[in-house]
Symmetry: C2
Subunit: 366 residues, 2 copies
């Protein structure tokens, strides 16, 4: 039978709770679809700081190198907020993982199911049928990693600087990921930049236009980032796939997630280079944070973590049937009215559940 291996980095806050539900789902699809996934669990984030002094211990990296993918929970919490940025749980774990594994393509669905439009902060009439946007964020370039970055004295005063830089090849590869994703959807790609101000955006736009020739069926359009931040709110349903550079993607994909109203439902994938076999090494994590305010209460929505597992099965393990089955089971569970607190209303036909209750309901529908 097919065998795979993954590392599980549950992290802090609600991470371990929602991860436990994902593992139950994973065991169910292993049995059902006849494959095995060897899992090794490792420390990351605040939990790793407490145990080892570092948010990303070398042992965690080494174990992940030996795996096909990382299933990541969430990291961070008030306990570690006063540490210097470099060794804070989020930044100190995520940025080095992205760089080390070359995870340049961040896929973040911004989905609002028609049954959950009430949870969105946006007026019902603007999102009546729900929406399904895919944000493709470049994840290893731009101002995050560009050099020089630092601080010096100039004319007797401190000056600090970062460099927003893109090589053409970096833009080409993320553009291809985005066009390919669009081909499997509504074939509409919006590239977001600030080409009226930034030299890096001029190269971005130019390169995206060039790559569009390889995908003649995809309708490409462009928008400035300030305008995109407005239009996403007013007409989220009019977008299909959106591609943008690292910093803009950080802002817009979070904005999109908030607009969807279902942060607890949204998975994400951070992928490296595609291998010969068509699969990717990847890191998969919920879009939301570690939610320390509700951690340990058994009430967090595990769906974002479970859908992250589905993405892992699809993109890193090639277990497409298992991924489809999980996504279908989640959709059915929502359709059947199961709701954790974050997506509940007081409407008839809803069954309010906690973390493991939601896990049970999804398992029952697998």
């Amino acid at each position: 039978s097919r065998s795979h291996r993954i590392t599980i980095l549950a992290g802090d806050g609600i991470g371990p709770e929602v991860m436990a539900e994902s593992v139950r789902i994973l065991e169910a699809v292993e049995a059902k679809f006849g494959f095995t996934v060897a899992r090794s669990e490792h420390l990351v984030g605040g939990a790793a700081i407490d145990a080892t002094g570092h948010p990303l211990p070398p042992e965690t990296v080494a174990a992940s190198e030996a795996a096909d993918a990382i299933l990541f929970g969430s990291v961070g919490g008030p306990k570690w907020e006063t540490l210097p940025p470099d060794i804070q749980p989020e930044r100190g774990a995520l940025l080095p993982l992205r760089k080390h594994f070359g995870l340049f393509a961040n896929l973040r669905p911004g989905v609002c199911l028609p049954a959950l439009t009430h949870a969105s902060p946006v007026k019902q009439e603007l999102i009546a049928d729900g929406f399904d946007v895919l944000c493709v964020r470049e994840l290893t370039g731009g101002v995050y990693f560009g050099t020089p970055k630092g601080r010096e004295e100039r004319n007797g005063e401190p000056v600090a600087f970062d460099t927003m830089v893109y090589m053409k090849s970096e833009i080409q590869r993320i553009a291809r990921v985005a066009f390919t994703a669009a081909m499997g959807r509504k074939k509409q790609l919006l590239s977001v930049d600030k080409a009226n101000v930034l030299a890096s955006s001029v190269l971005w736009r130019e390169t995206v236009v060039e790559i569009s020739k390889e995908f003649p069926e995809v309708e490409l359009s462009h928008m400035y980032v300030d305008n995109a931040a407005m239009q996403l709110i007013k007409r989220p349903g009019s977008f299909d796939v959106l591609v943008t550079e690292n910093l803009f993607g950080d802002i817009l994909s979070d904005e999109m997630a908030m607009i969807s109203g279902s942060l607890g439902m949204l998975p994400s994938a951070s992928l490296g280079k595609q291998r010969e076999d068509g699969l990717y090494f990847g890191l998969y994590e919920p879009s939301g944070g570690s939610a320390p305010d509700i951690a340990g209460q058994g009430i967090a929505n595990p769906i974002a973590q479970i859908l992250s597992l589905a993405m892992l099965l699809r993109f890193s393990l090639g277990e497409v049937e298992a991924a489809d089955a999980i996504e279908a089971a989640v959709a059915k569970t929502i359709a059947d009215g199961f709701r954790t607190g974050d997506i509940a209303t007081s409407q008839p036909g809803e069954t309010k559940v906690g973390t493991s209750g939601m896990g049970d309901a999804i398992l029952a529908r697998l």
Copy 2:
């Protein structure tokens, strides 16, 4: 009697129409409050490109140098969209004006009046009482103007780069503007940065904290830009004054304007250094664009332009009573039910008006 002078740069699209209403209002307050404002009108944007080949003719700059302030309409339109970015109406006029006049402080109110919450894309229950946020955007620093900026070949491929750079003194002066504004409001200041990733943001945060010692009554908090993009949507009413660097301010102030739902109502001020007499040279313009789709139809909302005039009277001319009177007349006009198309509903008690009808209604209440 007190005499002042301003340049009027009406620009393109709806610019001239809404400017005409502002001029009527200006004449009324001159008469009422006993001061004179010499006005000279000049070309800018697409209109200037058509006439002179350049979006910001030297003559326009020279005239503005001789004035106390600039009342700016709006620029841009489909006709000029295919020009190279540098000489496009918006970028080619606004960035040089900001740099030339050292307009480092951009004040952008994001206001949703309780009577106009229906126009916001955000659900009624999240903004029931409306909201009033002031975005203070640094306008002459950061990645907009930082050098090096450009493109070169590295290892045989094109690479493009921009530099996000802040001197401590640039952060100090914008922080003081923001704290001062907060002192006149609810005394709450939120500084938005990305200090977990950017060296320039680390200096930003450090400096804002230092300046906060000068304003012990103001409650200062910090938020990462990705989180701010989310929280603005979910709880706009919980913010008072927000201060941030140039690029983040570009994105967040537009996002905030969209959330308010009343883009046609929102003025803005871009101020230089405060003079000895307490006044500022400034450029005042509506937050919305030139709206070419509705230009020439006499239906644009002139309120953003009229409130921009009020800001000009307040900050650049020191005609505070006139500014107060205009703002009160606008508020009364809205309370009395006058609505241009952008803010109309089909509720009883509304009088639907065009551009000049709105001007008439405001004039009548002055």
